[in-house]
Symmetry: C2
Subunit: 350 residues, 2 copies
C-alpha cells in the first residue's frame, strides 16, 4: 500500500454542486497533499472546472454519469432508479476498492439507502447511524444518530455507542473516550423505556468502553463526554437547534456591532480575536458526517455546504480511511458477538 | 374584581431558595406594581429576608410550612408524602382561589404531579405540557412540550398545538399565531408515525388555527413560526442543547475578548451594545415555563435561577392570569369537543 489516498466524490450532490465540489477538492489537496480523486458527474460541467485548477492536474479522474439524485427524491426511488447516478457510482467505487471513501453533499436518505445496499452493514450492526463531531468548551464531542433512524430500540442505541466510541478514537484521537446517553435528566428513573434499557445494557457491556450514564442536552456543549448517543429524531432536531441557536447569536452579535460607532470601532479592534471564535462555531469547519456501521466509508457533507465545508468533509473521509475506522468497528463487534451480549446474536455453545 | 393580583410562591424550591425567591418578589413588585404574594415555606428563614425589604412591607403574607420537596424526590413520593410542603401549599392556594397563580423553582416532576392532582386537567386535555417562549431572530417562539411527557401520541401533539396557540396569543400577544410541528425534515413523508398523524389531524382541524406544517430544529431560532410543537423528550433535550450552545458561544466570546489588549479594548467599546444582545440570549430574561392544560396557572422557574430569573417567572404568571390563559384554553377545547375531532372524545349524536 502506498501513501496515495483515492477518494470518490459525488460531483453533482449539494446545492452548490458541482462548483463547490471541485473547489473543495482543491482545498483538500492543498491541506492533505496525498489525496487523489475519482470525480463522478456530468463531464461537460466538470471538465472545465477541473481544467481551470492547476493543483488538480493529474490527481482528478472524471467519470461521466448522466443521472442525478435530486434533493427530494425518495430513498427507495433513488435506490431502484438511480443506479447510474454520480452518487451511486461514488459508492460503487468504494465497494470495488477503487476508492477508500466516498463523499457526497446530496440527498441524505438516498445516500444512506444506497450505501447500505451496496456496502452492507458490519456484522452485529442492524442499522447504520449518522455521526459527526460538534464543538464543546473542551474540544469536540461525537454525536449520533443524527437522523438515519427516527425510532431506535435499546439495542440500536447500544450499537451506536460502540460505533461512536470508535469514531472518537479514530477522528478525535481520544484514547479512552467517555460515552453518555442523552436523556431528559441524569437520574436512573428518567426517560422512556428504550433509553433506560440501553443504559442498563451499557453498564454491563463486556467491551472495554467507558459509559458514564445519562447526560442532558446541555452537557454536549459543556464537554462532559466524548461521545453523545441518542435516537435519530432527537439527534437531528437537536443538531439543527444548535445550528439555529448559533446563527441567532451570530445575527444578534452582528446587530450589536453595527448599532453605534463605538461598537463598530470595538468590532474592528476585536476582529482578529473573534475570527478564532467564529472558526469554532462555524459548522463548515466541522462539516462531514459519517454513515457509520457500513463496510466502507461514506461521508455526508451538508447539503448547503461550500468549498470550505466540502474540503473538511473530504478531510474526515481521509482520516477515517487512514486510521482504519471500519476494521476497528468490525473488531469491536466481533468481540461483542463472542461475549455474552447481545444474547440474540449468539451462536449456541457446543 | 380589583387590580390586585395575588401570586402564591414556593419559598423553598430551587437551588438558591429562599433568598432568590424573596429577591424575585422584590424585582417583580418593582416592575409590576400591583402584585402581592402568599409566600410558603420556613417562616424562620423567610421572615428576616422579607423584613429586610421595605418594598415588600404589607404585600407579602408568609405561611409557614415544615416540609420541603427535594430536587431528587420521585414525583409519586412527593405527591403522597409532601402534602404539607411549600410547593403543595402554593398549588392549593390556586385551587382555593386565594391566589391566581403559583410559581416554583422546585422539582419539575413533583410540581407537575401535584398540580395535575390538585388542579386537574381542562376537559379535552389528556396531559399537561410544559410551555415557554424562547428568543428568535424575529422575536419569540413558544415551544412545547419541554419535558412533561416523554412519549406522545398524535392526539397529544394536537392538544399541545392548541395550548401553544393560546399561550402565544396570551403571553406574546400574537393575534393569529402560526404553528409548526417539529420534524427531521419538512417533507410529508419524514418522521415517525405520531408526528405524521398529528400533522394530518392539524391540517384538518376545525379550529381557527394556522398550522404551517413541519418545521426543522433550526426553524425555531429562525423565527419561522410562533409556536413549535414536539414531544417532551425532544423538547427537553432541544431546549437544553440550545442553552448549552448559547453558553459555549458566550464562553468562546469571553475568551476572544480576553485574548489580546486590542480585543480587550474592543470589548470595552462594544460593551453597551453587547449588553442588549446578552439580554436576548440570557435564559434568565425569559425564565418561567407554564404547566399548560390545567385548571389553574402554575409556572415553573429554572431550578438554578436567581432573583432576576424568578421575577420574570412571576411576570409570566401575572400575565397569564390577567389575560385569561385558562379560560381561553377551556374555550378552545370546548369548541374542539363540539366539532368532529377528536372522534374518541365525542358524545354520540342524538
Amino acid at each position: 500500500m502506498t501513501d496515495r489516498i483515492v477518494i470518490a466524490l459525488d460531483g453533482m450532490g449539494g446545492d452548490s454542486a458541482p462548483e463547490m465540489v471541485v473547489g473543495g477538492a482543491v482545498r483538500a489537496r492543498r491541506r492533505l497533499g496525498n489525496v487523489e480523486f475519482l470525480l463522478f458527474g456530468d463531464s461537460q460541467r466538470l471538465e472545465p472546472l477541473v481544467r481551470r485548477r492547476k493543483s488538480l492536474a493529474g490527481v482528478v479522474e472524471i467519470r461521466h454519469t448522466d443521472q442525478i439524485v435530486k434533493g427530494d427524491d425518495k430513498p427507495s426511488v433513488a435506490l431502484r432508479g438511480a443506479r447510474e447516478s454520480s452518487m451511486r457510482k461514488a459508492i460503487d467505487a468504494v465497494k470495488s476498492g477503487e476508492a477508500v471513501a466516498a463523499v457526497s453533499a446530496g440527498n441524505t436518505g438516498a445516500l444512506m439507502a444506497m450505501s447500505k445496499f451496496v456496502l452492507k452493514t458490519i456484522p452485529g450492526i442492524d442499522r447504520p447511524a449518522i455521526v459527526r463531531s460538534v464543538p464543546t468548551v473542551r474540544g469536540w464531542c461525537c454525536v449520533l444518530d443524527l437522523g438515519a433512524n427516527v425510532q431506535c430500540s435499546a439495542e440500536h442505541l447500544v450499537q451506536f455507542a460502540v460505533m461512536g466510541e470508535v469514531f472518537a478514537r479514530t477522528v478525535l484521537g481520544v484514547e479512552r473516550p467517555t460515552i453518555g446517553l442523552i436523556n431528559i435528566g441524569i437520574e436512573e428513573i428518567k426517560g422512556h423505556e428504550e433509553v433506560r434499557e440501553a443504559a442498563a445494557m451499557l453498564r454491563e457491556t463486556p467491551l472495554p468502553i467507558t459509559f458514564t450514564g445519562f447526560i442532558e442536552g446541555s452537557d454536549i456543549a459543556a464537554g462532559k463526554v466524548d461521545v453523545a448517543v441518542t435516537d435519530g429524531f432527537t439527534g437531528n432536531v437537536g443538531l439543527k437547534i444548535a445550528e439555529g441557536t448559533a446563527k441567532l447569536i451570530a445575527s444578534l452579535l452582528r446587530d450589536a456591532f453595527r448599532s453605534s460607532w463605538r461598537a463598530r470601532l470595538g468590532y474592528l479592534l476585536a476582529r482578529p480575536a473573534l475570527a478564532v471564535m467564529r472558526e469554532r462555531t462555524d459548522p463548515r469547519y466541522y462539516d462531514g458526517a459519517i454513515l457509520g456501521g457500513l463496510n466502507g466509508i461514506v461521508v455526508k457533507a451538508h447539503g448547503g455546504t461550500d468549498a470550505l465545508g466540502f474540503s473538511n468533509a473530504i478531510g474526515v473521509a481521509a482520516e477515517m480511511a487512514v486510521n482504519g475506522f471500519v476494521p476497528k468497528i468490525r473488531d469491536d463487534f466481533e468481540r461483542l458477538k463472542s461475549s455474552t451480549m447481545p444474547a440474540s446474536d449468539q451462536e449456541p455453545v457446543a
